[in-house]
Symmetry: C2
Subunit: 349 residues, 2 copies
């Protein structure tokens, strides 16, 4: 068995008994039953996923995976490829959006080079797991080899295993990779059968002409590579990306290790989609942080069957949405752990 | 001039120059312009409201106003009236939902007795501003006298003035009052002209028969009292409540003192609605925390012209939604204050 098969074999359904037990505890708290809505959902799901009736979310980690994309040659992004590496340095110095919002939520940001076209040798603070210096241009051939895909998946799985041994209670996903909305749109098009036009948007803010070009390039890549919709790893290999594969691996690894995982925006959800296509129980371990402005996002969420936690018109990625949603999940667990019961407070039912 | 007229005269429009200046600073941060969506809106609005380009949100306060309602006699709530006072003690001990979520967001909860039918004499930690021991039953006569309404409004205005002198950067509203969805539905019905049936929901969770009774009772109260939709204080007096009037006063006071104010759920929004009917610029100072499950809430928000920050299926009140939304507004201001610029980070535009 390869690393993916081994990991899939470790994924179990979450316990319905623990879900019911957590809800019963919530119903004893001084409030009308169910009146804290989704916070109660977060609390009971974290209990069921972690297997603990007193979940410990004191350690929260966001992984921001960075990778470059050959498709950038086709003029699909507003920014030059060099920005991927420049932003990695920004993350390491703590000045990016994800750093600010992770600090706000009490989460640590770990930056992973899984495929940046830059030599980071000796760079402190970075997790060095480079699989390749970016993908190939999927408009002219497959983005990756199957071996590269598996290697990138393994990066995510390894990091999830490490989180388990460190006692991390909640994991978030994030990414940085100039041009990576293009592979994400291509992946959901390949899997859903919907048209590229329905699923493709402006990324960091391209104009109408550039959007038309982006749609044409993605259509060309899909026609050329013909990814097999029944084989999620084939889709990931042919039109995906290294950081997207690492996210898929992280999500699988979290499910295998009973760690709740918060999915950031459009690109992260493309990774989570691959994971949930590989094993139906994966979706029980996922929280979707927010509704992205990217139009393809809601089709991914329908496919996964998840309702986003926030809707703040974000389109940045990095893990920014995950950071805020992790704070709300934390709040839900605090309701379970800290609120008084009717008996404790002497309140009539 | 009475206290309301004096306060209205202190309310100014927010500065469009400061809004633009804050957005220009946000556009220099290392992210595509506008890509942090509503967090950027929160940041620029807090700058414009507070008049400071470096807003200080380190002091955040939620006011939970408690009051009883004569309409409870009509069987409109699932809970007995005694729960209002019991919950006040729960707030003071820190065991209620609002306490847990305010701690999570770094906000202080201040509990104000503006109209509970209980003698709290000597009770430490409570802000003693009782105007009356609850309202009268508005199904059989006016809920309050005009003098009581003005006295309760003054409680909120005074507390906002005190926040200004303490340097509080962000204020949240909250309330506790068994049966207080009934006056809230009555108020939006009186102001909007929509039917009571369209605006009335299950509160803490009443069944179908109790809902029919609640609708009938509110209709009876409106027919009997005939509040004048063109006179917001008449609506508040005849079918409102003491804690709702205090919230209206707090919102007016925050606007008069240039303090951003976060409105909690259905009942708090009824208070904010009165304030925004009294002065059109009030809405520039308001953040609406969340979309309540109560069906009348969206009509109030349409009338105010505000988009809620969160949608977590809350129907608890107390200030629980405000607590979480205050955390997100804080996050927006941190984006403005802490993110690196393109120049600082050496990132290409």
């Amino acid at each position: 068995m390869d690393i993916v098969q081994t990991t899939l074999a470790r994924i179990n359904p979450v316990s319905p008994e623990l879900l019911a037990q957590a809800q019963a505890r919530l119903d004893n708290k001084t409030k009308p039953p169910g009146s804290l809505g989704r916070l109660e959902e977060f609390a009971r799901r974290v209990v069921a996923i972690s297997g603990s009736v007193q979940p410990d979310l004191s350690k929260k980690v966001i992984f921001t995976f960075a990778g470059d994309h050959g498709i950038v040659e086709e003029g699909v992004s507003l920014y030059p490829k060099e920005v991927t590496a420049q932003m990695v340095f920004n993350f390491l110095r703590g000045g990016a959006g994800v750093n600010v919002l992770a600090r706000h939520s009490g989460a640590e940001v770990r930056v992973v080079d899984v495929g940046v076209d830059h030599d980071f040798e000796g760079c402190a603070g970075l997790i060095h797991r480079k699989v390749a210096r970016g993908t190939q241009n999927f408009a002219t051939g497959p983005a990756m080899t199957r071996e590269e895909t598996l290697a990138a998946l393994k990066v995510g799985i390894d990091l999830a295993d490490q989180c388990k041994s460190e006692g991390v209670g909640l994991v978030g996903t994030g990414e940085m990779g100039i041009a990576n909305t293009s592979p994400s749109s291509a992946m959901i098009a390949a899997i859903s059968g919907l048209t590229v036009r329905e699923l493709t948007h402006r990324g960091t803010g391209i104009n109408d002409a550039a959007l038309e070009n982006k749609i044409r390039v993605i259509e060309q890549g899909l026609a050329l590579n013909r990814p097999d919709p029944a084989d999620p790893l084939d889709v990931l290999t042919k039109v995906g990306g290294l950081e997207i594969a690492a996210i898929a691996g992280l999500v699988l690894g979290c499910a295998a290790n009973s760690i709740p995982v918060v999915i950031d925006g459009f690109i992260s959800t493309a990774g989570a989609l691959i994971a949930s296509e590989l094993h139906p129980n994966v979706r029980d371990y996922i929280f979707v942080a927010h509704q992205s402005v990217e139009i393809g996002h809601r089709f991914m969420l329908e496919r996964i069957g998840a309702r986003p936690i926030l809707d703040l018109d974000f389109r940045l990625g990095e893990g920014t949405g995950a950071a805020l949603a992790m704070g709300l999940i934390d709040a839900g667990v605090k309701v379970l752990k800290e609120m008084a019961t009717f008996d404790e407070a002497g309140v009539s039912r």
